[in-house]
Amino acid sequence: MREITLSKAVNEAIAEEMRRDPTIFLIGEDVAEAGTPFKVLSGLVEEFGTERVIDTPISEPGFMGVAVGAAMTGSRPIVDLMFGDFLFLVMDQLCNQAAKTHYMSGGKLKVPLVLRTNLGATRRSAAQHSQSLHALVAHIPGLKVAMPSSAYEAKGLMKTAIRDDNPVVIFEDKLMYQEKAPVPEEEYLIPFGQANVVREGRDLTMVATSSMVQVALAAAHALEGEGISVEVIDPRTIVPLDEATILNSVRKTSRAMVIDEGHQSYGITGEIASRIGEKAFYHLDAPVVRMGAMDVPVPFSPALEDLTVPTPEGVAEKARKMLRGELFDGA
């Protein structure tokens, strides 16, 4: 199968959907000629014109609001938010407006929009350009949240997001834009709420999102040589969350780790770990281990930044300890 970059996969997904449905348009900063600073959208303005690929002023709250109104009136906007860190600027329009409109109107109005943005540290971009803020939107009822972990996932999830009648926030991993993966030429969609068992295993389940899927896989690979068999599960969407696949796996392996690039405290690892703790309680041979990013603003210095996110080595080491029974912190 051909291999394409995640960047290209996103571009293809959007182009295919825009060809199919004329109500779709793109809106954001430097999305047209520039094709975004990451060049993800290159070529789209040439095909679809400036009426459908709309450059905005640097007005995140404003164009988010514009997208909500457009979505309520027959359009299907895709909003490009250049950095996930700018989510803080659009929270009101996203969470007080887009997320609640369908419910508040008793099902009469709907807001079919996609907010595509990114996450991920270790690019030396410092505290305001490195955050992974998916936990914030996952907490707000009415928003779906997708977290692609490869080019293949990015394409399929983007197409589903665009066809969904609800507001969907999709987080791409900035560091993965240039990474290639096999992506079929033929059209495919990836349904929301169906986790992907990326790797099967017997001894331990790792639930990992986005950038952390590869980290988990690398750790699993290392552990394999030591006779430890790891199952890796990518939830794909954290809202809706495919609890069943995760629980089935944990019931089989009896051990679970949850790995994510958002800050660990009050992030998504707590939700997933506590659901496992609640619903697979009697199957657990050890406490569920969580690994999120450190609870610190992302430091600029390369000497510090790399310490803040889970690494394959760190994950493998925790797994080893877990299997050796060394993790029962004060218990």
Binding site: Q97, S105, R163
Partner: protein, 343 residues
């Protein structure tokens, strides 16, 4: 930049066209103003008698704004509304029953009781909803205009908001985009002199009109108590916006008769009883328009009185219906979080 002269119906100045030409529209506007007033009187009573849950903000006094503007719109045209949104909703064509049911949290309400006073929406008439975030709907109205243009429709969007909402940065962001993209949107600022318990002058520096003009937007000010003046200006601007000459900004000078919300009873500390009395006596949009209608021979006094009685009876019947109407079933609580069907 061009400003609409502050025409006043009560001043006896001749209207743009002869009264008799347009009596259908005049009586419709009169009736709609009556309906808003009657709606609010009932809502106020419901609240004061503890039959209405939550918080509500009365539109009484500002009727000419909503009615003058909405009379210039088609059902396909969109509006966005505010926390003080009953007037916009009625003016855009909503029914009393569904409105009162909504205010009482009943299943027959426009939003199945889920929205209430502050989120009432009426999609069937192009009302995209009240909004409890001050300024929160400015992007929505602008987006509706963008959507119309992109999808080849000719509808126009009107964004209603108060003077207080001009302090929200969102307004400047979306006015900039609307101006750059020449969107068919009209920003209608209802300047009732107060935001909550604070005079507009204390929270708004400079000039509201000039703020819009600085973005290259044509801006107008008009007497918001004069339904004919409002309607004349709105008619012109809606027509121009439909042709792609928008966006526009209108400042409408008006006044709210009640407190900020229905519980805001002792308000001497921020505005005087005298001031309130003066507005009611001299600048009531309904009284003054009635006087004009009679003077111009559009209607007789008793016809107008009959209309008022009829509207009041309608409102009372709707309230009676709504009080008896059932609440939504508990199973609805987690319905409508997401649209269930895929596109």
């Amino acid at each position: 930049m061009a400003k609409a002269g502050k025409t006043s119906a009560t001043a006896g100045k001749a209207p743009a066209r002869k009264a008799s030409d347009n009596s259908g529209a005049y009586l419709r506007m009169y009736r709609q103003m009556l309906r808003i007033r009657a709606f609010e009187d009932q809502a106020n009573q419901l609240y004061l008698s503890a039959k209405m849950p939550g918080l509500t903000h009365m539109y009484s006094g500002q009727e000419a704004v909503a009615v003058g503007i909405c009379e210039a719109l088609t059902p396909e045209d969109k509006i966005t509304s505010t926390h003080r949104g009953h007037g916009h909703c009625v003016a855009k064509g909503a029914e009393f029953r569904e409105m009162f049911c909504e205010l009482l949290g009943k299943a027959e309400g426009y939003c199945r009781g889920k929205g209430g006073s502050m989120h009432i929406a009426d999609q069937s008439n192009g009302n995209l909803g009240a909004n409890a975030i001050v300024g929160g709907s400015m992007g929505i109205a602008t987006g509706a205009a963008l959507s119309a243009r992109r999808l080849g429709r000719d509808d126009v969007a009107v964004c209603f908001f108060g003077d207080g909402a001009t302090a929200q940065g969102l307004m400047y962001e979306v006015m900039n985009m609307a101006a750059l993209w020449k969107l068919p949107v009209i920003y209608a600022c209802e300047n009732n002199g107060y935001s909550e318990y604070t005079k507009t002058a204390e929270i708004a520096a400079g000039s509201l009109i000039a703020r819009a003009e600085a973005f290259g937007i044509e801006a107008f000010s008009v007497d918001g108590q004069d339904v004919l003046a409002v309607n004349e200006l709105a008619g012109r601007l809606v027509a121009r916006a439909r042709k792609g000459e928008g966006p526009f900004f209108i400042e409408l000078e008006t006044y709210r008769y009640h407190g900020h919300h229905v519980g805001d009873i002792n308000r001497d500390y921020y505005r005087s009883k005298d001031e309130e009395a003066r507005w009611k006596a001299e600048r009531d949009p309904i009284t003054n328009f009635a006087r004009w209608l009679v003077a111009e021979g559009v209607a007789a006094q008793d016809e107008l009185a009959g209309m008022a009685a009829e509207v009041k009876a309608d409102a009372e019947a709707a309230v009676a219906h709504a009080l008896e109407a059932p609440y939504p079933d508990v199973s609805e609580v987690d319905m409508h979080v997401f649209v269930e069907t895929a596109a």
